[in-house]
C-alpha cells in the first residue's frame, strides 16, 4: 500500500514528465517555425527552374513561360515570402530528396530521409526535370509524370487503390512504396512543401483544374500495345545489358560516385518495393511506359513497346524489398534473395555461363 508521500511523489514525477514532453514539443515547434522563416539555399537545378518561372513574392504572379510560349499570360494570386520559401523547399525536396546538396538537410529538406529506407530514392528520378520535364524547345513531354499536371488531376478515382486519391496521399504512397520507406503525416512540411511546389508548377504552366494533360502520369503500355510476343526475361536481360547496364550497373544496383547517386538502383535494397506501381507483377503497364517515354536519358522514345515491356519484366524479376502488404515471410524471402543472389550471379557470370545466346537478342520489334 503506497504511502501518501509515495503517491505524491508519483504524481509530481508524472507531472514533471508530462511537462518535459510539453516543453520539448513546444521547443521543436518553435524551431520548425524558425526554420520556415530561414532563407532557402536552392539546388542549382531548382535555382534555374524557379528563376525561369519567375518565382518571386508579390501580390500577383504572371508566368513568363506562358508569356513566352503563347504571347499572353494570366494574372493570378501572388505569393508571400513564406509561400516562396515553401515552394523553394518543395523544389529542393524533389530535386535532392536525400539532401546530398544541402548545407542543412534538416532545414532545407525537413530531413526527408526519415521516411526513406534506401540511400538512392529521389523524387527527381521518376519526376524528371524536377517534376516538369521538357525538351530543348520547352515542350512538356508525354508520360513524364509532371507534378503540376498531377496536382490539377488529383482527387480523381485511382483504379489501383480504389480511392479518390488526394495529392498528399499519393505522395505518401511514393514514400512507402517507391522509396520503400515510411508514411509522413499528411500535414508534415515534407508533404505540404512539395504540394506547394507542384501547385506553383501548375500556375507557371497555366494548367486548368481537372483537365488531363499528356505530361500527367505515365503513358502506360499494355501487352495489347505490342505484337503479342509475350514478355520475355531473356530478351529483357539482353536489352538491359545493351541499354541500361552502363548506368544502372550489371546487377541493377545503381551507380554511386563521390557519395552521390549517379543512376538509381532498379533492384536490391535501395530500390522500390514489391508494392510499388513500378513493380511489374503488381501493375504491368507502368514501368514499361516509364521506360519508353523517359529512358535511356537523352534517347527517350527510342525503344519499342515490346522492348520496354521486356526490360521491365526482367528488372521486376530481380530481388527487391517486399512491400508492406506482403507480410513477414515474403519480406524474409526477399531479404535472403537480396543477400544470396548477387554473389551467385557474379559467380555464374565469372564462370561464363551467363552469356545470352546471340539468337535470343531480339531483332527490333514493332
Amino acid at each position: 500500500m503506497p504511502t501518501p508521500a509515495g503517491k505524491l511523489t508519483r504524481i509530481v514525477l508524472l507531472l514533471l514528465v508530462l511537462g518535459g514532453i510539453y516543453l520539448l514539443a513546444t521547443q521543436k515547434h518553435m524551431q520548425r517555425e524558425e526554420d520556415r522563416q530561414t532563407t532557402v539555399a536552392l539546388t542549382p537545378a531548382c535555382a534555374a527552374k524557379l528563376g525561369r518561372y519567375g518565382l518571386a513574392h508579390g501580390e500577383h504572379y504572371q508566368s513568363p513561360y506562358a508569356l513566352q510560349r503563347t504571347g499572353a499570360s494570366i494574372t493570378v494570386r501572388g505569393y508571400s515570402e513564406e509561400d516562396v520559401r515553401a515552394i523553394q523547399r518543395g523544389c529542393n525536396i524533389v530535386d535532392d530528396t536525400q539532401g546530398h546538396l544541402a548545407r542543412d538537410a534538416g532545414r532545407e529538406r525537413w530531413n526527408t530521409t526519415r521516411f526513406i529506407r534506401g540511400t538512392h530514392a529521389n523524387c527527381n528520378h521518376c519526376h524528371q526535370g524536377i517534376g516538369d520535364k521538357q525538351d530543348a524547345d520547352g515542350n512538356r513531354l508525354k508520360g513524364s509524370l509532371n507534378l503540376g499536371a498531377s496536382w490539377v488531376m488529383a482527387d480523381m478515382y485511382d483504379r489501383f487503390t480504389g480511392l479518390l486519391l488526394p495529392f498528399e496521399l499519393r505522395q505518401m504512397q511514393c514514400y512507402i512504396n517507391s522509396s520503400n520507406g515510411y508514411k509522413p503525416n499528411i500535414a508534415d512540411d515534407v508533404i505540404r512543401d512539395v504540394t506547394a511546389y507542384s501547385r506553383f508548377l501548375s500556375a507557371a504552366l497555366e494548367l486548368k483544374m481537372g483537365s488531363h494533360y499528356d505530361e500527367q502520369g505515365i503513358d502506360e503500355i499494355a501487352a495489347s500495345a505490342t505484337p503479342k510476343q509475350g514478355d520475355d526475361y531473356v530478351r529483357g536481360e539482353a536489352l538491359y545489358r545493351q541499354k541500361c547496364q552502363n548506368c544502372h550497373g550489371r546487377q541493377a544496383f545503381g551507380l554511386e560516385a563521390n557519395g552521390r547517386v549517379v543512376a538509381p538502383a532498379l533492384a536490391g535494397p535501395n530500390s522500390w518495393n514489391m508494392q510499388s506501381r513500378n513493380y511489374f507483377y503488381y501493375v504491368s503497364t507502368i514501368l514499361p511506359g516509364f521506360i519508353c517515354r523517359n529512358m535511356p536519358l537523352g534517347e527517350e522514345n527510342t525503344l519499342s513497346n515490346q522492348e520496354c515491356r521486356d526490360i521491365a519484366y526482367y528488372i521486376s524479376n530481380l530481388p527487391r524489398p517486399a512491400g508492406d502488404r506482403q507480410g513477414p515471410l515474403v519480406a524474409l524471402q526477399q531479404q535472403i534473395l537480396m543477400t544470396v543472389m548477387p554473389p551467385l550471379m557474379r559467380l555464374t557470370e565469372s564462370a561464363g555461363k551467363h552469356e545470352v545466346p546471340a539468337e535470343r537478342v531480339p531483332a527490333r520489334v514493332q
Binding site: H60, S80, A203
Partner: protein, 160 residues
Amino acid sequence: MVCLIAGFVLWAHLASGVRVFRSEVASEPGWERFRADYRINHFGEDGQFVRAVQNGYNLVYYTHKYASRFTRRSAGDRANSCAACHTAEDLAYAFVSSDRVDPKLGKRVSFEDRVRWCYAGSMDGFVPTIYDPAVRDIRLLARAVARHLELGEGALRKGD
C-alpha cells in the same frame, strides 16, 4: 440461415432505405440543377467522384442534415448551412487559392483547414478530421466547380 442472410442483404440494398447500405447518395432538391449547371456529368452519371461531389453538394446546402455530427445548427436556425455564407463558386476560388500563408494568422492555411474551422466556428460545432468525407467531399465539390469555371492555380475573380 442462408435464406436469412440473403434476405437481409436484399432488404438492406433494395428496401431498407438506410444510408449506410446504399452506394448512391440521397438526391436533395437542387442537385439536378447544380449537376447540369456545373456539368458534373462530364465525370459520368455515377461513380465515386460524382457521388462524392453530390455528397459535397448535400453537405454545403444541407449542412445541418448531412454533417449533423459537426454542427450544432438545426433545421430551425437561419444560417444552418455553408451555402448561407458561400456560393459554390466562392468555394472553387477559395480552393485554387488555398495552401498559402494567411497574413492575419501568420501561417499557411489549407482549404481543409478552412472547412474545419467553419464547422467549429460558423457552424458552432466540432472539428472533423482532415480525412473525413465531411471535409473531403466539400473539397471535391470545389474542385469540380473549379474545373467547370476553368480555373487554374491562384485564379482571381474579376475585381480581385
